[in-house]
């Protein structure tokens, strides 16, 4: 050992805070607990692209149907406002949203202003160390009640898992230029408990089109 053990290691100062408040003053902070009719979800992914690219793709709200489950259309209605439509079978829910903050390459925050869904969210883009991509963290809040329950019957996932899956779809689309899918898959007869298993294994869950909106061939 050439250096004495008491010498301070030469490292960068540690970050004091992290995206969507997962760390405050150098200490881990768990996501907010569900209460008072509010449901919270925080999730993150490490994506092989730079923060600015990810920020731009996320900001392109009108392309959200390509990676967000059951979103059929997003229309910009003003510089900071948009109108969202979610459809499943003959059921439709719609709401308006407003962008509250938009810092290029760093973060986007939004909330719903009117309609069938009450939600607020933030997505933060932070470079991972040593060129390992970008850490994307989302924090979202839904007001529970009729809508959250409806979402569940609607999309087949609870809204929390939908946030997790949507980030997964976003990541796959950015990294691999497509969202993985297997259905329709060749198979033999599914048998008596087939439909039960189909739903348990997620065969009925919606998968957004990704880059695949037209024909694959």
């Amino acid at each position: 050992m050439s250096t004495p053990l008491t010498e301070k290691p030469a490292v960068e100062p540690l970050p004091r805070t992290a995206g969507a408040a997962s760390m405050i003053d150098g200490h881990y902070a768990p996501p907010p607990k569900d209460k008072d009719g509010k449901m919270w979800v925080r999730t993150s992914a490490i994506i092989q692209a730079d923060p600015q690219t990810l920020y731009e793709r996320w900001s392109d709200l009108e392309s959200s149907p390509s990676w967000q489950e059951e979103i059929t259309s997003v229309k910009k209605t003003g510089p900071k406002t948009s109108h969202w439509t979610m459809k499943s079978g003959d059921k439709t829910i719609e709401w308006d949203a407003e962008t509250l903050a938009s810092e290029p390459g760093k973060r986007i925050a939004w909330h719903s202003t009117a309609g069938d869904i009450h939600e607020a969210g933030e997505v933060v883009f932070e470079p991972a160390p040593a060129g390992r991509g970008t850490i994307v963290t989302i924090l979202m809040m839904f007001e529970m009640g009729k809508i959250a329950a409806m979402w569940e019957t609607f999309v087949g996932r609870n809204p929390k898992q939908a946030v997790v899956e949507n980030l997964r779809h976003f990541k796959a689309l950015v990294e691999a230029n497509e969202i993985p899918r297997v259905y329709p898959v060749p198979h033999g007869p599914r048998g008596t408990i087939g439909s039960l298993k189909e739903s348990a294994f997620g065969e009925k869950l919606p998968i957004p089109a990704g880059s695949n909106a037209s024909q694959p061939a």
């Binding site: 691999a176 993985p180 198979h187 599914r190 048998g191």
Partner: protein, 392 residues
């Protein structure tokens, strides 16, 4: 098309199912010319792997001719001859970049199922349960192959299918097992299981510099194949043979430098330990029978390495972790990072250093597959490896 379908535990049928179709722009459809049954398929046959569904098409070792490609496929074209790796990888995520292809972040559409079971999801696999993606397998006439710019290995020489087919899984798996054993020149390596994976692990251990390989199994034909590669064999089922004692006797009392468990979760044992595990798994108190794992941990020398290509699925009972800690051993394991090995191992085949077809014992049709599953599971008819011609 015709395909081999899993219809429940110990129930496999060859049925007519829909042809696969292109679903994404980087997909290819392969017309399969040769495919095989793997020891891993026996775990499905025996109902040891959760999230199988009746009707699922089996098989993950296959090769063939490119029939059709999606619009973003540039690396292969219709008419190319290709071997398909059984792990599906996107090529662009953090794990693919680190060359841990079997941990690809993007290829498993059912990642949430595996996250619930394992914390994080591995890559998708062909024909290997819904938790691993629900992809249709290759014991069929056609298969859909995603990320066709990343996985398929083009075969440009006129080597026969049988010589290159095992690049789809077991040759790379045996090779990675030997690599994971961290062999240095002169090492003694013990290999449990002389099935196909064990065979290629033995051959690869010699390639990587092992001086001595000790192969353990109970089937004479498999032990004989191992001896043909230069291994010393131990039949664990012979009266008065204790594997631990044998390994001490053959290593000057210190134990093998590395141990390879090429058996996995359905290890066989006739003694009380085996009865204990069989009863516990039957009662759902334990999911795996880690008989070989326990032995290998006990056998490996101090500071040695344990490499585990044999598949484990769930919760293991009575694993002597204290011995592992006490000896300071290293353990390396996992699904094979296929994409690292296919090209270099193809070169070895092309140079004539190895002819992997030596392990084939049975050549069959798709219609014969259901019977062969049973015959192999019951270790009848001296099966070592079964290859299927889906058009015969």
């Amino acid at each position: 098309m015709k395909a081999v379908c899993w219809m429940g535990t110990s129930k496999v049928e060859t049925l007519t199912v829909d042809d696969p179709q292109l679903l994404n722009a980087q997909d290819a459809i392969i017309k399969i010319t040769r495919t095989a049954i793997c020891g891993s398929d026996l775990h499905l046959y025996d109902g040891m792997i959760p999230t199988m569904e009746a009707g699922d098409v089996l098989g993950h070792e296959f090769m063939g001719i490119v029939e059709e490609v999606g619009k973003d496929v540039t690396k292969i074209k219709r008419g190319d001859r290709v071997v398909i790796p059984f792990t599906i990888a996107c090529g662009n995520c953090l794990f693919c970049k680190k060359k841990i292809w079997a941990a690809c972040d993007n290829s498993n559409p059912n990642a949430q199922l595996m996250e619930k079971a394992y914390g994080y999801s591995g890559s998708g696999l062909f024909g290997y349960s819904h938790m691993m993606g629900g992809y249709a397998g290759g014991q069929a006439q056609y298969a859909r192959v995603p990320y066709a710019n990343v996985g398929p290995l083009k075969i440009e020489s006129d080597l026969s299918d049988e010589k290159v087919l095992f690049l789809s899984d077991i040759f790379p798996t045996g090779y990675m097992a030997a690599e994971n054993a961290q062999i240095t020149e002169g090492d003694t390596v013990a290999v449990w299981g002389c099935g196909p994976v064990g065979q290629f692990a033995i051959a690869s251990a010699f390639m990587l510099g092992a001086a001595k390989v000790i192969a353990i199994d109970r089937f004479p034909e498999r032990l004989e194949l191992a001896r043909s590669l230069g291994a010393i064999t131990v039949d664990y089922s012979e009266e008065d043979v204790s594997v631990l004692e044998a390994l001490k006797d053959l290593t000057g009392g210190i134990g093998p430098d590395a141990c390879i468990d090429a058996v996995g979760l359905e290890a066989h044992s006739s003694d009380l330990q085996g009865v204990y595990d069989t009863v516990k798994t039957a009662l759902l108190l334990e999911t795996d029978r880690p008989i070989v794992l326990r032995q290998a941990i006990m056998a490996v020398r101090k500071g040695g390495t344990l490499s585990i290509p044999g598949v484990y699925g769930g919760l293991l009972d009575k694993v002597p972790f204290g011995a592992a800690f006490g000896k300071g051993i290293t353990m390396k394991m996992g699904q094979t990072n296929m994409h690292n090995y296919m090209t270099p191992l193809l070169e070895r085949i092309e140079k004539g250093q190895i002819d992997p077809s030596y392990i084939i014992s049975h050549r069959i049709t798709l219609d014969q597959a259901p019977d062969m599953y049973k015959i192999w599971r019951d270790k009848k008819e001296k099966v070592t490896k079964i290859v299927i011609d889906p058009w015969a």
